[in-house]
Structure formats: C-alpha cells, structure tokens
C-alpha cells in the first residue's frame, strides 16, 4: 500500500469546469453578442498562385446591409505584417493577400455586413481579376532552385536549412557493424477542433482601447495584435474568460484578430468573425506538419543503436509563422528514450502553395517519434531480432538519470523498463501474441504495434534562439495571483484562456494542497490581458509544471505571511510555529486561526507586525525550471521534464477490405506526479484518438492543381466512437526533481506515440507479404491496394 502523500493532489476530484459545460453554459466566442455588431465573410482565392490585378467591389457595396469591403491592398498599407518566427523579413504575411495569392483558399478580401448571411451573399458579387502564376506543392520540388518561389522577394522557398552534428557521427558510423537507411513521410493533418476559430473585436474610441474576445491559445496574443495594428500594448484588451472549444495547439488566430481588430477600429462598431468549417479547413491557417524524413542508423549485431543521421524536410505552406520551429522542439528529444551516442540532424523548412501550417499538439515531436520508432522496427527486422527486446536493449536505464543527450538537453527522470514491464503484464503480452497468430490463422492480416517515446514538457522557447540567432529569448514565464477577501475566502487568478485542459481544477487543487484548505472553496477567475501578469498560455505541455508551479509558489508566499502574522500575534518565533489546515499552531497548544489572520490583515493594521503591508494577497511569476541559458555551439537544454509513454496495440484487417480494427490498446504513461487523474487520463485517451486519426484517416490532401480536396468532414475523416477502441492506461510515477510536486507535462500525451504504434502494427500485419507502408495516414484504400498489387 502506497502512502497517501497528498490530500488533494493525485486524488479523484471532479474537474470543477465540467458543470457549466454539461449544462451548455460555457462562454464560447460565438456566444458573445455585442450591440450593433457587424459580421464578416472573407472571399477566398481559387488559384493556388496568382497576381491580383483588380478587385471590383462596386456591386457588392451597393447591396443592402453591406457596410464595407476590405481588400488586401487596404490592410497591407494600414498595418504591420504578422510576426515571423525566423529571420525572414521578405516573407511577409498579412491577414488578406496583398497583390499576390499564395494558396488556394487564401483570403483576398473581406465583406463587412449587418449579418453573416448578407456578407456571404455579397461575396458572389465581387469580381477578381487575377493572373495565375506557376505554383509548387511538393516540398522536395519546392527545394529545387528551379521551383517557382512562393515569395519571389525572398528569392527561394527555403525558410530554414540548418545542419547540426552532435557527437562523433562519422566515427560512430564507421565503427558500427551495420547501418541501414529509409524514408518515411508524415502526412499533412491537424487537430481540427470541433469549434472553429472565432473572434469578436470592439474599438472604444473614447478610451482608445480595443477589446478582443477570441477562441485562442496563443502566447503573447495581445502584444502581437497591438504591434500589427500600431497600437500601444495597453490599448489591446484580450478577454481570457472565453472558453475555447478545443485547440490542441492550432488556435492561434493572429491573422483573424488583426483583420477583425482593424475593421472594428475603422468602422467603430463591434465586429464578429466566426470561421465556417470550409474557411477553417482551407484558410484558417491551421494545418499541421507535413514532413519527410530520411533516416540512417548505425548499429551493432546485438541491436545496440550507435548513431543516427536524420534529414527532416517540412512543408510549411505559404507563409512562415512559427511553423518552422516545429522542427526545433524535437531536438530536445532527438534520440527518443534511447541511448544513441551521436546524431546529425538536417532541418529544412520550405514554403509551398499550400495552406499555412500552425502549431499542432507536440509541436513536431509526434512526427519525429514516428521516424525514430520506425528506425527501431527496421533495425529489429534487419537483425531478425524481437522488436521489444531491441528497444529494451537501447532504452536509457533508470539509474542513468539525469541523462544528457547529444543535442544538449538533459532528461530529468524515468524508469522506462518498469513502465514497459507493467504494460506487458496488463496487456497479457503472451496472450496478445497468441491472439495475433490466431487471427492470422483465420485469414486476417493481424499485427502488433509497439512504440516508446517521450513528451518533452514544461516548454520554454529555446528552439527559437537555436534556429534564429537574432532571437535572444530565454524567458518563458507563467504566473498566478491569489487574494483572500475580507470574509476569508480565496480567489485565484489565472492569466490565460483554457481549451479543455482543466486549469481551474489544476490551480484550485494545488492551492488547496499547499494551504491545506478545501479546493472546492476556492474561486478561480480569468481577468483580461491588461489585468494579468505575464504568461505564455498553455503550450508545450507546460501548465501542470508552470501554472501549477506558480500557484504553489503563490500559496507558499501567502502561507509565510499567515505564519508571520501569527508569530507576531502569539509572541513566538515563526520557526517554532507549524501550519496545519489553514491555521497556525504554537507548541504550547495555542492556535492562530485562518480567520484570526483575516481579521488582522484586513481590519487591524495596528496589530500587524511592523512594516507588513495589509491584506492577504500574493503572486508569483515563475520562469521555466532549468530554463536559464541560450544555445551554445548548436546545443541547448530545452525542457525541464520528460514524460514517457509506451504503446502496445493489436489490430487486424481483412486483406481484401483493408480496414484496420483495433483489438487491443494498452498504453503505459509516466508523467510524474499526477495532479488530477481524470484530467490526465482524458488527455491521454484523446491524444491516442487523435493519433489514430493521424495514422489511419486524416489528411489535408491536395490535387495536382493545388486544390485542397479534403475540406469538409465528409472527406477529412476524424475518428468516431467506432474507430477509437477501449483503451487501457497503465500508470507509473517517476517524479521530476525539477517541479514542486514532481509533476511533468501530459497535455500532448498519447498523440506522441500512437501514430508510430499503429504504423508499427500495420507493418507487422503485412510483413509476411513484404509490404512496407512508409507514409501516414495509411488509409484503408492504401492497404487494400498494396495487398491486391502483391497478389496480382
């Protein structure tokens, strides 16, 4: 029996946010209604590349209810370009195409009208005169000097081309007995939240302030809006009490907010824009990585992998944004959970005439994990070794932590072998193997998939200075503020929106734990950006570590004040006092209660210790643990914490139909101390479901003419309750030494390994036919075609 270490942390508590959502009382952006509000519909380009000669808006402007039509030329002259992550000043991006269209679907102008329906009607009256230009869709083609540049001013399609060598790669390859190489491709998919992106903006000319309500998950959102619109930072007020209907990384909406903010300011009326599904899919600028890997590994006959060369070529789409950085985060876990002595990594990001890429769950880590895990399967296959044994041989051992990897990050803690053993037991591995063979005997194609991987968490942003030397950012803080009111009740402020991660539950649980008071008595509020302390929003699996950390540190400060007040009041040294259940106890049995402290702090200044300020409030602005240095020689320590997951899957399909059905799914998960078990499990289940989609179903596919073919839910297929099987989670806890309670991140869990595991299972199923699937998603048509071709 494990000792119960915490009263509220790791205990089963119902997430407090749930009640308003099951009652339909969330506060989503589309629910916000402002007086005199106008509505926007954007007009999309049909060409993947074109020069805009003229836009005739005259007929649209004459329609009843149409207020204005904004063109790219107008907005391009009025605002600053959107922020670029890399040092690529000639790759300029505006909310509407300025002079040139760069992908099919890109917005060229926007109608503002009394209703969304009228705005949509008016789109049909706008005449665009444009000259089509050559275009490029494929990343390898875009890389060629002969390819048409998406941004002619930039001179080529190359946004990023960096070669890193960490350790003695050539030497390790020369010494190793074997090597092999392969290519795999991660298809273009995304998180595709059920709520599209939306924004409402309202300009108050008397106070000179722009109010923004948005379904956003974006660091420094208000700063970016202000910079683009040439406003002071304190003239943009982003409201954090908007519930976000799913994001998983992509809800950045900076082009939307600058467009709507600009219109609101120009017209002096509240403006609303909620993407419809088509706008979201083809022009919401929220596609995920599309990445081709060329991998070479060097290894010994016993299966020990010595070195790896990886080339990752990513198709960023038409504009840069932060997309190229998704090649940067994986540097922090470039060897996965394995002891690989040296690595060379060639990271290339190119523009193409496709929709713009945005941050997706894991920020590039899931594709990289898929490549690493494919390497493990290939080495095992080459050596005719068991895939599991090969991994167990290469995994970092529990006594090797802290473990420095070649690219400069140090893994904090873990016990990978123990997690795997637990999973094998829980899934009954021998029976699983027998079931696979039994399915095969029945004529099914059956396979077992295995994937081990890491989730770097607690995100700071050190991939930015690593990939862009002009960027000196090392700070990546989060904050929390708490206040005890005159009646003694605690309110905490969190300074970001949430999109289902349960931050209110996180903060109340942590505060309750430290202050030893009932978490359900704590009120959580979300002020707007102007009333907030600095933060960086829930990205990079960071909030348990960073918001949880800042909350705990705020509570410790408050507790210290409670003790000081009690010490003064009781006339005893503070060191002799103990804190229990909100009260302060003296060794002689006297008790200074929470309410006593409230009385003194709020109403009896004359009884407070000399020099102490009144009130019971505290705040904390916390920097990422271990986040204190810029890169040196192409190396940097990035993430404080590394969660581990191990996936074990059995699936089978009929060889003619080719539709995989998952018979068994077990995942082992170690994210250190869990704050709320239901929330962490939920995110892991959801991540696996999303990974099943990425592996089998979901792809933003383009035809040769540059048109997006999967732009509705009828052709971009997402897993339903039929495709996602029951999933068994096996928990393990290796606390992190760097965090308050030993917690690590879990927001990207599941997704980081499930695509690799599904791919592994399908390839196991078809291995006897000598078929290899080297691209995700592996759709049922690809499976049945490949098998039919072999049979024919």
């Amino acid at each position: 029996m494990v000792e119960k270490k915490y009263k509220f942390i790791s205990q089963p508590r119902h997430p407090t946010e749930n009640r308003r959502f099951v009652a339909g009382r969330g506060n989503f952006v589309a629910d916000i209604d402002r007086p005199e509000m106008l509505h926007v519909a954007p007009l999309s380009s049909h060409y993947p590349a074109a020069i805009i000669n003229n836009i005739d808006i005259s007929e649209a402007m004459m329609m009843d209810g149409v207020i204005d039509v904004i063109t790219g030329a107008e907005i391009g002259a009025a605002i600053q370009p959107l922020m670029n992550g890399l040092d690529t000043p000639k790759v300029q991006r505006f909310p509407l195409a300025v002079n040139r269209v760069r992908y099919a679907g890109e917005w060229v102008c926007a109608v503002v009208a009394e209703s969304r329906a009228i705005a949509e009607d008016a789109l049909e009256k706008i005449l665009i005169d444009a000259t089509p230009q050559p275009f490029v869709l494929d990343a390898e083609e875009a890389l060629l000097p002969s390819s048409p540049p998406v941004h002619p001013e930039h001179g080529s399609n190359v946004l990023l081309d960096r070669q890193f060598v960490w350790g003695e790669v050539d030497d390790d390859f020369a010494k190793a007995k074997h090597s092999l190489s392969f290519s795999v491709t991660w298809g273009r998919n995304s998180t595709v939240p059920i709520e599209t992106f939306g924004v409402v903006a309202e300009w108050n000319g008397w106070d000179q302030i722009l109010d923004v309500w948005a379904s956003v998950q974006m660091p420094k959102y208000s700063d970016q809006i202000a910079r683009c619109l040439n406003l002071p930072g304190n003239a943009v007020r982003v409201h954090y009490d908007v519930d976000v209907g799913g994001s998983y990384g992509v809800k950045r909406g900076i082009k939307h907010a600058t467009l709507i903010g600009y219109i609101a300011r120009k017209l002096g009326r509240p403006i609303r824009f909620i993407e419809d599904r088509l706008e979201n899919m083809r022009a919401g600028d929220a596609h995920g990585p599309e990445r081709k890997f060329n991998v070479e590994v060097a290894f010994e006959s016993d299966g020990s992998v010595r070195s790896m060369k990886m080339r990752a070529l990513d198709n960023a789409g038409a504009y840069a944004g932060r997309a190229p950085f998704q090649l940067g985060k994986p540097i922090s876990a470039i060897v996965g959970p394995y002891q690989i002595n040296s690595v060379s990594y060639h990271a290339i990001s190119v523009t193409s005439n496709k929709t713009v890429q945005e941050a997706v769950r894991g920020f590039g880590q899931a594709p990289t994990n898929y490549a690493i895990e494919t390497a493990m399967d290939r080495v095992a296959s080459f050596l005719k070794m068991d895939r599991l044994a090969l991994r167990q041989r290469n995994l970092i051992q529990s006594d090797q932590f802290p473990y420095l990897i070649p690219s400069g990050s140090t893994y904090d803690s873990g016990d990978y072998h123990a997690v795997i053993e637990k999973v094998l037991t829980a899934a009954d591995y021998p029976t699983l193997l027998a079931n696979r063979d039994h399915l095969r005997d029945e004529g099914m194609m059956a396979g077992i998939g295995i994937a081990a991987c890491l989730e770097p968490s607690g995100g700071n942003s050190s991939f930015e200075p690593l990939l862009n030397e002009s960027n000196k950012t090392s700070t990546w803080m989060e904050s929390c503020q708490i206040n005890v009111d005159g009646l003694g009740h605690l309110t905490a402020r969190i300074h970001t929106t949430s999109s289902g991660q349960g931050h209110e539950t996180l903060v109340s649980t942590v505060l309750g734990e430290v202050l030893e008071i009932d978490p359900s008595s704590i009120r959580i509020t979300r002020p707007n950006s102007l009333e907030s302390l600095p933060g960086n929003s829930p990205v990079g699996s960071r909030m348990a570590i960073m918001l949880g950390g800042a909350a705990a540190r705020s509570a410790e400060k408050l507790k210290a004040k409670l003790i000081k007040i009690a010490a003064h009041s009781l006339g005893i040294d503070a060191e002799k006092l103990t804190y229990a259940g909100g009260n302060v106890l003296a060794p002689d049995g006297r008790k200074h209660t929470w309410q006593d402290a409230v009385e003194l702090a709020h109403r009896q200044f004359h009884n407070l210790p000399e020099g102490m300020d009144p009130g019971l409030a505290a705040f904390d602005i916390m920097q990422v643990p271990t986040g204190n240095a810029l890169p040196v020689d192409g190396k940097v320590h990035m993430y404080p914490c590394y969660s581990f997951e191990f996936h074990l899957v059995l699936l089978a399909f009929d060889p003619v139909i080719g539709r995989p059905e998952i018979h068994s799914y077990t995942v082992g998960h170690d994210c250190g101390t869990v704050i709320n078990p239901a929330i962490v499990s939920g995110m892991t289940y959801g991540g696996i479901a999303h990974g099943i989609g990425a592996a089998l179903l979901e792809e933003f596919a383009y035809d040769p003419n540059g048109q997006l073919m999967t732009q509705s839910f009828l052709d971009y297929l997402m897993p339903s309750s039929h495709e996602v099987p029951p999933i068994k989670i096996v928990k393990h806890c290796t606390p992190s030494p760097h965090t308050v309670f030993g917690q690590k991140g879990s927001g990207e869990s599941g997704y980081l390994g499930s695509p690799a595991a599904i791919s592994s299972a399908i390839n196991d199923a078809v291995s006897a036919l000598d078929i290899r699937f080297e691209k995700l998603p592996i759709r049922m048509s690809a499976i049945s075609d490949a098998i039919a071709n072999k049979s024919a």
Binding site: N18, R19, G24, I194, G246, I679, S681, G686, I688
Partner: protein
C-alpha cells in the same frame, strides 16, 4: 419571411424568419439559447444535436420552417428547473463525474444523444452507447470517459426509486 412557432424547452418562440434560416441559428439567434453549438454545419460532427419530438437530430440540417409547430429540447431544457437552478440531470451529472468531456464544445450534443439513447434503451450495452454517440465527434476525450459516463448514467437511472422522464435532475429521483 415566414412565420414559425416552435416550442423550445418551456416556451413557444414565434418569429418571422427567412426560409433559409436553420433550426440551429433559430435556437441560437432567435430563441437566444447559446448552448447548442455549430461544429461543421454539414451534418457530420453532431455538435448541434437537439431533441425534436424526442429524437436526437442535427439542428444544422433542419430549417426552422421545418420545425414549425414542433417540440424542441435543447441542452438548456435538460436538468432541474430547465437548467436555471444549477441542478443537473442524471446524465449531465454522470458526465461530470466520469469526466466525459474536456473543452465542453461537443458536450451539449453528446449529453442530448445520451438522453435520447437512455430514453429508449434503459440498459444499454457499451456497443449501444458507442453506436448512439457515433454521430457526435469529440476531439478531446477519445470517447472512453464519455462511454463510461453514459454507462454510469444508465446504471443510476436503472437504480433510481421511481421512473421519470430523461432530463430530470438527479436529486428528484432520490425521494
């Protein structure tokens, strides 16, 4: 413009509407009830699910004029005192308890799909539940805790002291 009269939860909403107005937009913009959510507006995701004459339907695929003179239950019509008192129905309460949601956007549609299932099938199998919610896409949960929530609700409905209509609050069933 056409006059329609739709009974939404506890009251009749009468309005002159354009023939092209969807029931979804009628509920949100005319009746002013924001708990019914637009997801895809082409009938795939199920976020806009409401009950029309007791059946779970997608309000984005139905025109307001088609729902004339019909009885519609939206998420606001579920739970105690028609959702105004903070009391939850058995199904809603089970969703909270099993954490059958995360961001809350698909949740009203999921809850109504579950209410419709349990009204017809008081003792569903897990397969029945998966079938009943298969037209509702959730991107957060992987459905695992949603299935748990509906099974929990079914169990509680089966073991309550007297029979009541789905949508009634949990507390009322204790007496």
């Amino acid at each position: 413009m056409i006059q329609v009269s739709i009974e939404v939860n506890d009251k009749t909403v009468t309005a002159e509407v354009e023939p092209r107005l969807t029931l979804l937009d009628f509920i949100r913009d005319v009746a002013g009830l924001k708990g019914t959510h637009a997801g895809c507006e082409h009938g795939v995701c199920g976020a806009c699910t409401v009950l029309v004459e007791g059946n779970a339907i997608r309000s984005c695929l139905v025109l307001a004029v088609q729902a004339d003179e019909q009885e519609v239950i939206s998420i606001e019509g579920v739970g105690g005192d028609l959702g105004r008192s903070g009391e939850l129905s058995i199904v809603q309460d089970a969703f909270c308890e099993a954490h059958g949601l995360q961001c809350g956007y698909c949740t009203p549609g999921m809850v109504l799909a579950a209410e419709a299932l349990l009204a017809d099938t008081p003792n569903p199998t897990e397969g029945d539940v998966r079938e009943a919610i298969s037209g509702n896409i959730c991107r957060c949960t992987g459905y695992v805790q949603i299935v748990e929530a509906v099974m929990l609700a079914a169990d509680r409905l089966a073991n309550r002291n007297y029979k009541s209509k789905p949508g009634q609050p949990y507390d009322q069933t204790l007496g």
